[in-house]
């Protein structure tokens, strides 16, 4: 099967997202298990699909995955969320990331205490 040409000048290529399934060409059993699991995770359950999409959007920003940001932005809209709700979800990710840095300041202070007179 011929592959589409890829721009090697950039680490990220938006069209790579459409080729995600190609990852299954090697280690297909693992890929199948992953995609089955992925689909099950995002199905309606104790949390609604909309809630899961908003969590996905927040996590996408936290891990700074441009593919995931595009996918979950669209998914949130298609589940009925609006940009205010989506922005608040991003702030949740931001707060936790920022808080995670800041709380390490306690470790810093403990270390300083140990070294200081």
């Amino acid at each position: 099967m011929s592959r589409p040409t890829r721009n090697h000048e950039y680490h990220y290529d938006a069209s790579d997202l459409d080729r995600f399934a190609e990852i299954g060409e090697a280690a297909p059993d693992l890929a199948r298990k992953f995609f089955d699991y992925y689909g099950a995770v995002f199905a309606e359950g104790a949390l609604s699909e909309r809630e899961k999409a908003l969590i996905g959007l927040a996590v996408a920003h936290s891990i700074q995955c441009p593919y995931c940001i595009d996918v979950y932005s669209t998914k949130c809209l298609e589940k009925g969320s609006n940009v205010e709700q989506m922005t608040e979800a991003v702030h949740v990710a931001t707060a936790i990331r920022g808080g995670a840095s800041l709380v390490h300041g306690v470790q810093m202070r403990g270390h300083v205490d140990r070294l200081s007179m």
């Binding site: 669209t74 809209l77 298609e78 589940k79 009925g80 609006n82």
Partner: protein, 345 residues
């Protein structure tokens, strides 16, 4: 490539068709339908006469598949109105669906409704809401209620930001005012006598949210923030024709949106698409399989009666429906029709 030369006027139908046919889709609509139990799209008995009484409208929405607006001059003439009412009443077609433009602007709008209502037909008025706040039309909520007309209102979202982005500045607030006027005369009450249907369509290049979820959101938000009640909400996908197609092109979204429509093809949704039991009448009396084909001037196949004056229900029953790439807009995901989603997701 941009289709329209002006915002208010979409390209001619032939140009729109050329644009649609130029798209590199992974499959055709005919091939997609062939994979379903239907095999091909054929009509059932005509249940609804949908009459487009003209393209004049007090709004100029960015997604409008009609390209309607204040400067449009197309208005259904008297002889076509008379022929439509004759067909409706003499052929026992149970539903009349009046659309436009803003159908309320037609000079015989009220007469059409009283005639159809007196004949016992279920009448739907596809209303943009804001027309009801214009002084000359403020009596219409009571008139519509008195005639048991189902008011089918466009409201893309429960916030001003999204609604105004699609339909124009200030439209949301005026729509809320109109909804309150409808509520005051009994629309949206639980007794079910006066049906108030909201129509939500995405404000952008994405598919509608699940209908039942969005209905719950609208109900909660409109009740909490505005004290507005409604009977039900239906979702409709944006059709890649006319102004919306032009917007897709200008925003660089056409290929991705069309790929999404194609990849989201749902054979179950095709069972209930509106073209199967509806006949669409253009302002000049020409007949089409649906309102979208009408806007693309996509005639019925095989020389079926071309206008309302030659209407033949028996001949129209079982006809093969003319389809094109835009038809993926009605079969994506949960499906989309004048009656909303056509399949459960």
């Amino acid at each position: 490539m941009t289709l329209a030369t002006q915002h208010s006027h979409p390209a001619e139908p032939v140009q729109q068709m050329k644009r649609l046919e130029s798209l590199d889709l992974s499959t055709s609509f005919e091939a997609a339908i062939a994979t379903t139990p239907l095999g091909e799209l054929r009509s059932t008995e005509v249940q609804t006469l949908q009459i487009n009484v003209g393209k004049r409208c007090n709004q100029e929405c960015r997604h409008c598949h009609v390209g309607a607006g204040p400067d449009r001059r197309e208005v259904m003439p008297d002889e076509v109105v008379d022929a439509c009412l004759s067909v409706l009443c003499e052929r026992e077609i149970p539903n009349l669906d009046i659309t436009g433009g803003a159908p309320e602007l037609h000079p015989r709008f009220e007469e059409i409704i009283t005639t159809a209502a007196r004949a016992g037909r279920h009448v739907m008025d596809r209303c943009n809401l804001t027309i009801l706040t214009v002084p000359a039309y403020r009596h219409l909520p009571r008139f519509l209620g008195d005639n048991r007309v189902e008011v089918v209102c466009s409201l893309p979202y429960y916030n001003a930001r999204e609604t105004d982005a699609q339909r124009g500045d200030g439209v949301f607030q005026r729509s809320i005012e109109a909804l309150r006027m409808l509520n005051e005369v009994g629309y949206g009450r639980k007794d079910g006598k006066s049906i108030l249907t909201l129509v939500a369509n995405p404000v952008g290049a994405f598919l509608p949210a699940p209908q039942s979820c969005l209905e719950d959101d609208f109900r909660e938000e409109l009740r909490k923030r505005h004290g507005v009640e409604f009977s039900r909400l239906i979702t409709i996908a944006n059709m890649p024709i006319a102004r919306y197609l032009d917007w897709l092109d200008r925003s660089g979204n056409t290929d991705r949106y069309m790929a999404k429509l194609v990849s989201s093809f749902n054979g179950a949704a095709a069972l209930s698409v509106m073209c199967r039991n509806t006949i669409s009448v253009r302002w000049d009396g020409a007949l089409y399989d649906c309102d979208f084909n009408q806007m693309l001037d996509m005639k019925m196949l095989n020389g079926y009666p071309g206008d309302i004056f030659a209407f033949d229900g028996a001949l129209l029953h079982g006809r093969r429906i003319a389809v094109g790439p835009h038809c993926f807009g009605c079969t994506a995901g949960q499906g989309s029709s004048c009656g909303g989603a056509t399949a459960n997701q």
